[in-house]
Structure formats: C-alpha cells, structure tokens
C-alpha cells in the first residue's frame, strides 16, 4: 500500500505540549481526521515546533515499544503524519532497525490486536490514543495473535 510520495518520514517527537484526555465523548476534534486528505508536503523544520496547537495537528505522537527479543529502537517517540499507514510505519521501523524487507514485523495496539496494514495511525490515535500519544508494540513474531 504505497502512500503519497510527498509524505515526510516520521520525525522524533517534540516534548509533549498538552495532553489529550482519554474519552473523546467531547468530540471536540470535530472531524479533523475525517476531512480532506492532506494534499502535499507539510512544512519541513524542527520536529513539532511548526505544528498548530490543539486539534488541527497533522501529526500525532507514536511511542514504539519492542516485544520479546525484537531490537529496541534508540528513538522511541515519533511524530507521525495522521494519514501514514501501519504498513508505512512497518517499513520505516524495518529500515531503522536494519531488518531485511523479507522479515516479518507485527504491530499491535493496546497489546491486543494487530491493525490492518492499510489502517491510518491517525484513526488509531483517535480511538486508542491516551496521554497525547498512541502506543504501539512491535514484534518480529506474533505476540498477541
């Protein structure tokens, strides 16, 4: 599942500037994730600092946790575009860890389910994020089935 070539690679996340409460029944974010697809590259620059505050953030913070004897990422926290897919993240992690393309990598949300490769991290963040970030576990073997 290829993505728009203009999309930036994930960047290390800036220090957290305000959390997002669990719950979401406020629905305050009013369809930000559901609106128009991002048309082109976002501004390059230092991670996080050019982001508009609050709901209109194009990037979300992802925390990557290794499972079992899978190599640990030196940088664990990344600012990732909402429209980046799980497959895109898998490819990025494999490159970063210098794994072979043929090696498998499984990603889990809530240590309970493996999202589809074409699922967008923005949607996962909306539904399963907490404390302003989406925690994802990654593993070279199947961990939670």
């Amino acid at each position: 599942m290829a993505e728009a070539e203009e999309q930036q690679q994930p960047q290390p996340a800036a220090p957290q500037s305000g959390g997002r409460s669990d719950g979401g029944e406020e629905a305050a974010e009013g369809g930000a994730a559901a609106g128009a697809a991002e048309p082109g590259p976002t501004a390059a620059g230092s991670p996080g600092t050019e982001e508009p505050a609050g709901d209109a953030k194009k990037k979300i913070d992802v925390l990557l946790k290794a499972v079992g004897d899978t190599p640990i990422m030196k940088t664990k926290k990344w600012a990732v575009e909402r429209t980046r897919t799980i497959q895109g993240l898998v490819d990025f992690i494999k490159k970063f860890l210098k794994l072979m393309a043929s090696e498998q990598l499984f990603i889990y949300v809530n240590q309970s389910f493996a999202p589809s490769p074409d699922q967008e991290v923005g949607t996962l963040y909306e539904c399963f994020g907490s404390d302003g970030k989406l925690v994802l576990h990654y593993c070279k073997t199947q961990a939670w089935g």
Binding site: A27, N110, S112
Partner: protein, 254 residues
C-alpha cells in the same frame, strides 16, 4: 436480543447475485464461460470464491496463473472489506447481477493486500473482532474467551453457520446490567464520494443526560455533511453494519 433475531438472520443471510467474468487479456486455452454465484454480504471475496478460481483455472495454463484478484469497472476490490460493503460502495446503483472481473496476473500492489491463504483472512477477521471488543469492553470479553471460542467464530463465518457463530458472538454483544451499553460503539462510515478510507471515532452509546444516542446523533456528530437536519437522508453514505453495534433505537429515521 431475541426480538432482534430476525434482523440478525436477515443480515447474516443477505446475498448478492454476482457474475464473474475472466479478464479478456488473460491467456486461455479455450473460451472461459462466466460463473454465477450468490455472494454472502457478511463474508470476504477470497473466502467464498474457491469455485470461481477452479472454474477459470480449468481453461488456463498453470504458468499463466498467480494470485487471484477481483475488479469492478476498473477498481480493484479490496478482499478485506466485507462483500456487502464493496457492493454498496461500488455497485449499488446498478442492475443485478453484480459483474466482477477476475484477474490472475498483474496484482495491483498499491491497491490490494495479498491473500495467500485462508489463514490471512482468519487473522484479519479476528483482528477486526478484537478491535471492536477493545472499543466495546476494553477487550475484556474477547480476552476471557478460550482459543476454541475464537475458532468457533471463524468457523461459523467460514461455513455459514449462523447458530454456531452467534453462540459465541452474543457474548460480545452483551454488557453488565449496571452499564447501559458498550463503552464505545464500534463503527466505520464509508463514503463513495471521498478518497478517505473511512471515518472511525470514539462514540458513546449514552449521552451525558442519560438518553440513548441514535444513529442520527452519530451521523450528525461524525459526518454532518452527509445528512440534512430535517430529513436525515442517507445520501452517498454507506454504514458498515458488519460491526453490529447493539441496536440503539432507529427512531430518528422516518
């Protein structure tokens, strides 16, 4: 739940009459006849088309055959979407039977996931069930089940066994009496009019005042452009009932 059994059965046994035709550029040893099949709306293309594959492979040489994939009017069909959803999104306004084109070459890597075995379909199906339960019950119900219960869900779907499936699924549709519903409703809204994959957000079944949220409330909240305030029409909007959230009252629809 027993009152809804008729609805549950209607959803389960929904079928779409389909005509499969081999893509004209595929190389065959003789003429390939079209193949007709009633497709279950709740299942997945690669799970129910073994006979289609066999039928067309009979007229082709082995070396011409690699992974099967399906297309409708130039659009590759995502096997990991339920069949009913694919039909509603792409072909609901056209005459039946639904005409699907079958390919065995030039797999569109950018558009489709691979499906090398039934295990892949099972894994995808179970991941959907688990994601839904993460929203409904913080995964408590699905995690308390044994492996054999998970298997029964899958076998029920694979073998079209309503009772076998619902013997387990009903536990996923229950909630403690002190709660008034699930934690969040698992839903996805697909629209034919946009490039966006789908809308999925957190949405509670009960409003802060204690009243039940209706389907209309959900749509107004997450997809306001699709509804007009007075009439609540479904326009260019298809809701995936696959997730089968418990039946909040639909009395907002006239």
């Amino acid at each position: 739940m027993t009152d809804d059994k008729d609805v549950l059965r209607d959803v389960w046994f929904g079928r779409i009459p389909t005509c499969f035709t081999l893509y004209q550029d595929e190389i065959t040893e003789r003429e390939a006849e079209p193949y007709y099949l009633l497709l279950p709306r709740i299942s997945y293309l690669t799970l129910v088309t073994d006979k289609v594959k066999k039928h067309f492979q009979k007229v082709m040489r082995q070396e011409e055959v690699s992974e099967i994939w399906f297309e409708y009017e130039g659009t590759p069909l995502k096997w990991h979407y339920p069949i009913g959803l694919l039909f509603d999104l792409h072909a609901s306004n056209t005459a039946l039977p639904w005409s699907i084109t079958v390919h065995f070459k030039n797999f569109p890597e950018k558009d489709l996931l691979h499906c090398h075995s039934k295990d892949v379909i099972e894994a995808h199906f179970m991941a959907c069930i688990k994601e839904a339960d993460a929203l409904k019950h913080k995964s408590q119900v699905i995690n308390e089940m044994q492996k054999k219960d998970h298997k029964q869900l899958w076998m029920g779907l694979q073998n079209d066994k309503f009772e076998q499936f619902w013997a387990i699924n009903r536990k996923l549709m229950e909630y403690p009496p002190e709660d008034n519903g699930f934690r969040y409703i698992p839903f996805r809204i697909y629209q034919a009019t946009t490039e966006r994959p789908f809308i999925q957000k957190l949405f509670r079944p009960i409003a802060s005042g204690g009243q039940l949220h209706t389907l209309g409330d959900l749509l107004k909240d997450v997809c306001p452009s699709a509804v007009t305030p007075e009439e609540m029409w479904l326009s260019n909007l298809r809701i995936d009932l696959r997730w089968r959230a418990e039946d909040s009252s639909d009395d907002s629809w006239n």
